[in-house]
């Protein structure tokens, strides 16, 4: 099953940095630069996502981790331009997706990118499927919209996709309604829908959070093998650090609307720089600790994003805070000592800093 109309010039799986002769582009699928998405509420302007920049290579898997309200989902929704407007609005930044300027695209053309080039998987499979339509229809909706398949061709393709995501007797189940599937099965259907047109990028927004723990591993394994096979780049949003470590090549940690640290999985988990990342890693339950002890928590609360102020956003909760942290927010700076692609936003861990 190969993509029916994948542009021939699309380079796949080349390491970033290497230029493609035909297009003059390096192996980067997605460039996000200084993305800012605000919500205009009666209580003030919420800076939900601010100065977020990252890139993603073809076929690469990037984890976006962070606590609730850190801006992970808003970042993902902004890429697909699905932020509800009003109250939300993307107020700045650039998103370059495979040479397309997504933020400059007219609505109608953006609609043709969604589902065709960018697939989306949502958190709760129990509510993400239309209860009044058979699942076969819902899978076909994408292929019929974007690939112009006939009704019967779309049905055949839907059955193939259902089989691919591991649903037994796929042909017989095309006419079944969502309530006839269990949660894990529905998430498989959602994956089939998201991958129906073989998009170059798949955004999975906490795909296993609503599922039973026993099903989580199966779904993640399915996602991993399918995206590997299709060379689909993935942005995996999760607050489960274990899943991020198992699935991703790179991880970006978000806090209070910013990316505060990013790097290869081993760098982030082995040599975390930013105190927030360290605290996050420390708050995981661990097998090698004394049983029965309390889990470590991070004192305090995330800041109010209506008026974040000029300080480092983690400063109020940071055990290593100094005056400079309150005065100015640090920039994302490279940390070549701990990893080639490692970067963090922290005064204390910059070269010559006071945090070891």
């Amino acid at each position: 099953m190969r993509p029916p109309s994948q542009p021939a010039a699309t380079p796949h799986g080349r390491p970033p940095g290497q230029l493609d002769d035909a297009t003059g582009r390096d192996g980067t699928l997605l460039h996000v630069r200084d993305l800012a998405t605000y919500f205009f509420t009666p209580g003030g302007v919420v800076h939900a996502v601010d100065e977020v920049s990252f890139e993603l290579g073809y076929g690469e898997t990037l984890g976006l981790v962070g606590e609730s309200g850190s801006g992970k989902s808003v970042t993902a929704l902004s890429i697909a331009r699905l932020v509800a407007e009003p109250p939300g609005r993307i107020v700045g930044g650039e998103i370059d997706f495979d040479g397309i300027d997504l933020l400059g695209l007219p609505d109608e053309e953006m609609r043709l990118v969604r589902g065709r080039r960018i697939g989306f998987i949502f958190q709760d499979p129990m509510t993400s499927l239309n209860p009044t339509l058979p699942v076969g229809h819902q899978i076909s909706e994408s292929t019929r919209t974007h690939l112009g398949l006939s009704r019967s061709a779309a049905a055949t393709r839907a059955a193939d996709l259902l089989g691919m995501v591991g649903i037994p007797r796929p042909r017989d189940r095309l006419g079944d309604y969502p309530h006839q599937f269990s949660g894990g099965m529905r998430q498989r259907v959602m994956i089939a829908i998201a991958l129906a047109c073989q998009p170059a990028l798949l955004i999975a927004d906490e795909p296993t959070t609503a599922l039973d723990v026993t099903v989580q591993a199966q779904i993640m394994e399915l996602l991993r093998s399918l995206t590997e096979e299709f060379r689909t780049a993935v942005i995996l949003i999760t607050h489960d650090l274990g899943i991020a470590a198992g699935m991703c090549q790179r991880v970006s940690v978000m806090y209070a609307g910013r990316i505060v640290e990013s790097g290869l999985v081993d760098d982030i988990f082995g040599r975390p720089q930013m105190p927030y990342t360290r605290a996050l890693l420390d708050s995981r339950p661990r097998l090698d600790r004394e049983p029965g002890g309390r889990l470590r928590t991070i004192e305090g609360f995330p800041p109010d994003l209506v008026d974040p102020g000029p300080a480092c956003r983690f400063a109020p909760r940071c055990p290593h805070r100094r005056d400079v942290c309150d005065a100015r927010e640090p920039l994302m700076t490279a940390r070549p000592a701990t990893g080639e692609r490692h970067a963090a936003r922290c005064w204390g861990t910059e070269p010559g800093g006071w945090i070891q």
Partner: protein
């Protein structure tokens, strides 16, 4: 093709009761509501009569049995007269046959008015709910104006203004009346649909549909409206009695159906002049009207309970 990933499908425990969809569940609960079923049966009978009306009637509705009338010294025949089950009116026309003809009028009111209501109310409500903001504001203020305007006055004015046009003469003047009633009745439907769309457009499956690039129009038509079918059906069913009643009222005050055709309202109007001496001329059409209204109301109430999500899975 890919290597299939082992699925848990075959291993999942079997549920004792087969899964039931929302519509089947509603149907199951409707069947247990005796009153609603009685209403449904009567509604079906009325619809059959409406379609077959003239064929079932012992007399054509406009034919006068002058011999019988003369034999009764030119007075309306009482019920159970030979050949006239419910008697005749003062012109010797068979009352039973005219009631059946009236059923046809009443049922076409039911259908045409609700069609007008759906055709106007659903798009306006859907547009208001989907687009929100200024469009919503304009559409809903317009709806409020229609809502606040006195219905009867509007219908009478429209009837008078358009009486002599082609449109006004179509179907013996009935079409105009039906449309006029529909033009005042759609507001409730528009409000209902707007509310449904407002709720459903925030739902995750709509978000998911946007995420695969489904167009706005298709999202409304294929994802939002099908999920509102329950409340819409209920509103249509409960709207029918008021439409029938409106037509009867108009006919009673002489604006609706024109002689020689008859609706239940105009039959009551005609009979009211004889109500002292010949009460059956009022009683029979009034009973027909009452039975029809109650049946639709029972059915509508039953449907409302059946579709009520709070009762889902119970009873």
């Amino acid at each position: 093709m890919t290597t299939p990933i082992p699925a848990p499908g075959d291993l999942e425990p079997l549920v004792a009761r087969p899964a039931i969809g929302p519509r089947r569940d509603a149907w199951r609960r409707l069947r247990r509501n005796r009153l609603a079923i009685v209403g449904a049966v009567i509604v079906v009978v009325l619809l059959v009569i409406a379609v077959l009306g003239p064929a079932l009637a012992p007399w054509p509705y406009r034919v006068q049995d002058l011999d019988a009338l003369r034999a009764n010294s030119n007075r309306p025949l009482p019920p159970f007269s030979p050949g006239h089950l419910m008697g005749t009116d003062q012109l010797g026309r068979d009352l039973f046959s005219r009631l059946l003809d009236g059923a046809q009028i009443s049922m076409s009111v039911a259908v045409v008015v609700q069609l007008v209501v759906l055709v106007i109310g659903v798009p306006i409500g859907a547009a208001a709910g989907w687009f929100g903001g200024r469009i919503d504001n304009y559409l809903m203020r317009f709806t409020d104006v229609i809502y606040a305007f006195p219905d009867l006055l509007f219908i009478i004015l429209l009837g008078v203004a358009l009486r002599d046009t082609v449109f006004g003469k179509a179907m013996n003047g009935l079409l105009l009346i039906f449309v006029a009633i529909g033009l005042t009745a759609w507001v409730t439907m528009a409000r209902l649909v707007r509310g449904q769309v407002l709720t459903l457009k925030e739902s995750e499956f709509v978000e998911a549909a946007r995420a695969i690039g489904v167009s706005d129009f298709k999202i409304v038509v294929r994802h939002i409206l099908p999920n509102s079918v329950g409340p819409i059906i209920v509103a249509v069913t409960l709207g029918i009695p008021s439409a029938i009643l409106a037509e009867a009222t108009l006919s009673f005050i002489g604006i609706g159906i024109q002689s020689p055709r008859a609706s239940w309202g105009s039959l009551i109007d005609d009979g009211s002049r004889w109500v002292q001496s010949e009460p059956h001329l009022v009683v029979f059409p009034a009973m027909a009207l009452a039975i029809a209204l109650t049946s639709f109301t029972f059915l509508g109430d039953g449907l409302r309970d059946a579709f009520d999500p709070k009762l889902r899975g119970r009873q």
